[in-house]
């Protein structure tokens, strides 16, 4: 079974490809949806095409599936329309799957289930990365605010932090919000310590 993954996020495609290989599928190709990707795909004659539901290139792919003369058999979205739970899970996970006509649904289902699990796993990794990035940038903002306080009010680092924290508690805000306001104010006033 030839599986093509259309994806422009290298990481997600790798996560999915790994999973498929572990499960014993070995005819797997990754095609980024850029330039003449439709022509490449046509030449590959895939049995299953997996694609991120959020990819703006889905309309282009579907048009090719509709008009292509090169494809021997038609390819349509999902294979088993009666399996609503499966389709629901796929759409929730952001998987769209196009399957060649005549491929038995028992053969496709494990691929689809695996794609759903891997897409979900990828979304989780992505979420954690975003969180880590946010935490890092928040930490930098607080550090800057602390150094302003340390410079301008000659406080120790510990006292500067305590001051930010009590201001945040009094105003019912997050520390990072108070820190950001302090930085903005300091910039407006042309204050030093930045």
């Amino acid at each position: 079974m030839r599986i093509v993954i259309i994806d422009d996020s290298g990481l997600r495609a790798t996560v999915l490809e790994e999973g498929l290989r572990e499960a014993g599928y070995d005819d797997i190709h990754i095609v980024p949806p850029r330039g003449a990707f439709v022509a490449r795909l046509e030449r590959m004659a895939p049995d299953v095409v997996l694609m991120d539901l959020g990819s703006p290139s889905r309309d282009t792919l579907e048009e090719m599936l509709t008009v292509s003369r090169a494809l021997a058999r038609p390819i349509a979205m999902f294979v088993d329309q009666s399996d609503e739970a499966m389709i629901g899970a796929a759409i929730d996970a952001g998987v769209s799957a196009y399957v060649v006509d005549g491929l038995r649904k028992e053969r496709v289902k494990p691929v689809l289930e695996l794609a759903v699990r891997r897409f979900n796993a990828f979304a989780k990794i992505q979420g954690e990365l975003d969180e880590a990035r946010t935490a890092l940038s928040e930490r930098k903002i607080i550090d800057r605010a602390k150094s302003i306080l340390m410079n301008q009010r000659s406080l120790s680092e510990q006292d500067a932090y305590a001051l930010l924290r009590s201001a945040a508690m009094n105003q019912g805000k997050k520390i990072v919000e108070v820190a950001q306001a302090l930085i903005t104010a300091s910039e407006l006033l042309g204050g030093g310590g930045l």
């Binding site: 330039g35 539901l53 959020g54 990819s55 703006p56 290139s57 889905r58 309309d59 282009t60 792919l61 579907e62 048009e63 509709t66 349509a76 979205m77 999902f78 329309q81 389709i87 629901g88 759409i91 929730d92 769209s96």
Partner: protein, 404 residues
């Protein structure tokens, strides 16, 4: 009690009524907490609606017909009781290509018939078949482009290459030289003009003066099971639409649409379509067109069944569906004037008395029978003067010789 509703949309200026309903409190007044779900392809918007991830969607009118007829992946009966706008499209082409057309852009746009013939000549001068981007096979844009090209003897399936790509990728594709031009909803045409990549060649409003564009589509069973929610939503949208049509609100509306979670493009580009001040070539004065995009006046949101049937006639014309009486009836029934009437019966919205009309028969603003309020229909001519009689689809199609 508040009802949570999810509606899918694409980043386009004609999502305006949905955005206004959400941001200006019109939905809230009807007890609706509206969540707008941004999508980047029509396929994904369609799947979200068909598979029940959202309650409704801002849909290309021809796509709603096509999904119902089983022409676009999983068949599903869709129902469109409300039109979100009419008009709003623009065909732009690379400046090199446009150099073979009438140089005065205002005159070029005002004369679509002449420009279509110039376009046919320009194809001969081009090094290869021009590649024209369309947003979807089942889009109003694609049907209008085909109609316009064919009027000058251009076969849209042979003499040009129509490439499907979503609106948000059109400008990048122009830049990369993957397409020579495209027809799309705003602000994407304006974005390509502003970037100096293209200039305006034709405007939707000049091809069909009141062209069907986006509808609000529901799954039909859900629409039938939830009349109260549908009615409240339609009332909220009708008020939002009136707000969007008011030129005093255009600056605010453009700012709202410009936000990253909606269109994510500069407000001044978005404002052009709203005010009808279209810049056709970068750096030149705008070409005024007060009917560039309509939301409310002239009973714009009313889903005339004859318009669904016009769409159907074009699908038949381009061999996208086999004509038979059952398919025609199914296509016409996608538009639901009955639901529109029920929802807005006690409002001050002008209400047409009929559900079908001749399309393309009105030359000058025309006062018509209305159940309530004054209703004036705007001119709705096709540029070639043809009139579509929904009772005589075969005759209409036979008029497109040869073969089509």
């Amino acid at each position: 009690m508040t009802t949570d509703l999810k509606i899918a949309f694409l980043p386009l200026t004609d999502a305006a009524v949905l955005v206004a309903a959400c941001e200006q409190g019109f939905a809230e007044e009807e007890g609706i907490a509206l969540e707008l779900v941004r999508s980047t392809s029509w396929a994904t918007l369609r799947d979200r609606l068909v598979y029940g991830q959202v309650h409704a969607a801002q849909m290309l009118a021809p796509l709603a017909v096509a999904v119902t007829l089983g022409l676009s992946q999983q068949p599903a009966a869709l129902a469109a009781p409300y039109k979100l706008n009419v008009n709003g499209n623009m065909l732009v082409m690379a400046r090199d290509f446009a150099a073979a057309l009438e140089p005065d852009v205002a005159r070029r746009v005002a004369d679509p018939l002449g420009t279509a013939h110039d376009f046919a000549a320009a194809i001969g001068l081009w090094r290869r078949k021009p590649m024209i981007g369309v947003v979807h096979r089942f889009s109003s844009h694609s049907l209008m482009l085909r109609y316009w090209l064919a009027s000058a003897g251009i076969d849209p399936d042979k003499d040009v290459v129509l490439r499907v790509l979503p609106p948000s990728l059109t400008v990048e594709a122009m830049r990369a030289g993957e397409i020579d031009g495209f027809i799309a909803g705003e602000p994407w045409g304006s974005a390509a003009v502003e970037a100096g990549l293209a200039e305006t060649v034709a405007v939707g409003e000049r091809i069909w003066r009141r062209g069907v564009e986006k509808v609000l589509a529901f799954r039909e069973p859900w629409l039938e099971e939830n009349p109260d929610i549908v009615d409240r939503l339609l009332r909220a949208l009708a008020r939002a639409a009136a707000w969007c049509d008011d030129s005093g609100n255009h600056a605010t509306l453009a700012e709202l649409l410009a936000r990253p979670r909606y269109v994510d493009q500069p407000a001044d580009l978005i404002a052009r379509a709203l005010s009808g001040q279209m810049v056709a070539r970068a750096g030149e004065a705008p070409v005024a067109n007060s009917d560039f995009m309509l939301f409310s006046r002239e009973a714009t949101p009313f889903p005339w069944r004859s318009q669904a049937l016009w769409i159907y006639s074009q699908l038949v014309r381009w061999n996208m569906v086999e004509h038979d009486a059952a398919a025609a009836a199914k296509a016409g029934a996608v538009f639901r004037p009955d639901v529109y009437r029920r929802a807005l019966a006690n409002s001050d919205v002008a209400m047409p008395g009929a559900s079908m009309k001749l399309e393309g028969a009105v030359d000058l603003p025309l006062a018509v029978g209305s159940r309530r309020g004054e209703l004036t229909l705007g001119p709705d001519r096709f540029f070639d003067g043809r009139v579509f009689d929904p009772e005589k689809i075969e005759d209409y199609l036979a008029g497109f010789a040869p073969g089509r």
